[in-house]
Symmetry: C2
């Protein structure tokens, strides 16, 4: 289907895209580039070739997947734009859309119609090429921000070939929804792990933990540099949710401190009803 | 090994104890009693017989497992004490020890040596007899508060027969550790679910959620009445942890609001290092 797919950034997500492209025979060739993880991704067999720079990877590629942290997407596209074929389509994997799409539009100018933004709802608390899995997108949802029709169709069918279900969403709606369903739970888990790390018995606690601690804190082990980037990029949508979260924690804490049995049960029931409907 | 085991309260934990006793042939007979779940537990085959009241269940039992919420344990033991055989041993399954052991000691008086408190580190966000599983305690940890040596040995070997590893812990240490590794993560998940339930798009959010939301909020669906009870019973040990948790969330929120990239990354890294060591 594709001749050459270029993957810029071959960590957990980029490396998984590369491995899936090869597993499902979606391209003749997958070329990767990463100043950090490139060697490892090549050694692991995720990519067919490792480019010496981004331009070499993009040269003669018909699809370019930019799998860097959100804030670096536009700069990366700006760098390779001069060698990007007029027939090539570019996508990304960012979980924040507003600032990314704005910056890419600025950098690409009239060539912005070659860009269709993607967000695969897949990931893990692990990171790097060694965490990549060819089946990461099977039955996963990929949200795309529709652009020029032909490019949109091409990006849609690309993800479908990797096993994903593709849905469309506008930029602002996307950022508000993913602030709630992804960025907030990560921020809460980061805060939980931070608090636990300061417990006097922090190092012993792991040996007593049951499933509750393990699950509630799981994504707290996610890549710090990637998530710093995501949380800051989506700070605007996240701010009111963090406030509301602080209030909710305060209400639960006050009900506990004052021994308010009826009130506490009501708060837990309200949240539980939401969770059971999930 | 046992002639008759009586289970008072046959929900998720009590029902699983009953099912495990039968599966591993630990007693000739398992009699259950519960004003709420008794009929269902009997219909599901978790217990051999359903008693009409607690006294009937305990009559001629050599082991009594009180699997009610923590605050009801002592009252239940007080009720059955007149019919409890002098050779019988009583245990519970409470995840809070201080107030339970104090109240039981008061109720049992000189017969307190027949009591050994247990806390199986097993459970789920589900509840009721239909959630019971005969393998719930396999490879699970059961923490007991050691008492009279012969009774302690008997309770230890009971849990081991159900597949658990038994460790011993003093009451205060137990309550401090489980405030951190279990009660706090539950409180955080309850607050997260409460906040999510108030989101303008609350009912739609589930369809977009990835694993991060699912895991971080999972225990938020736990039994509201049981957990109201647990959190209130362990309020003293939980209070400083909730304060420290509110501060950690505040720090993460402020770093996001002020765009402090270095600071935010440092907070996430600190928590992440703790989580990866878990």
């Amino acid at each position: 289907m594709f001749n050459r797919v270029a993957i810029l950034g071959v960590g957990l997500i980029g490396g998984s895209v590369a491995a899936a492209v090869k597993r499902f025979g979606v391209a003749r060739e997958v070329i990767g580039y990463s100043p950090f993880d490139g060697q490892e991704a090549f050694r692991l067999g995720l990519i067919d070739g490792l480019a010496v720079d981004a331009n070499q990877a993009v040269n003669s590629a018909d699809l370019v997947v930019v799998a860097t942290p959100p804030s670096e997407v536009a700069a990366m596209i700006g760098k390779v734009l001069p060698v990007l074929s007029n027939n090539a389509v570019v996508t990304d994997v960012s979980s924040v859309k507003g600032p990314v799409v704005r910056a890419v539009r600025e950098v690409m100018g009239t060539r912005f119609e070659q860009f269709v933004s993607s967000h695969p709802i897949a990931g893990a608390e692990t990171s790097g090429p060694s965490a990549a899995r060819a089946d990461l997108f099977e039955r996963a949802q990929v949200v795309i921000n529709p652009g020029e029709p032909k490019a949109t169709l091409l990006v849609t069918s690309f993800w479908e070939r990797l096993g994903a279900r593709v849905t469309q969403m506008q930029v602002q709606e996307h950022d508000e929804i993913y602030a709630a369903v992804s960025h907030l739970p990560h921020a809460v888990a980061f805060a939980l792990c931070l608090g636990m790390s300061r417990h006097p018995l922090a190092e012993k606690l792991g040996s007593y933990g049951a499933g509750g601690l393990r699950d509630t804190s799981r994504v707290g082990a996610s890549s710090a540099s990637l998530w710093t980037n995501i949380l800051l990029e989506n700070a605007a949508a996240l701010a009111p949710l963090l406030e509301s979260q602080a209030r909710a924690l305060q209400e639960v804490s006050e009900a506990i401190a004052s021994g308010d049995e009826t009130g506490l049960r009501r708060l837990i029931e309200r949240g539980g009803a939401w969770r059971r409907a999930l």
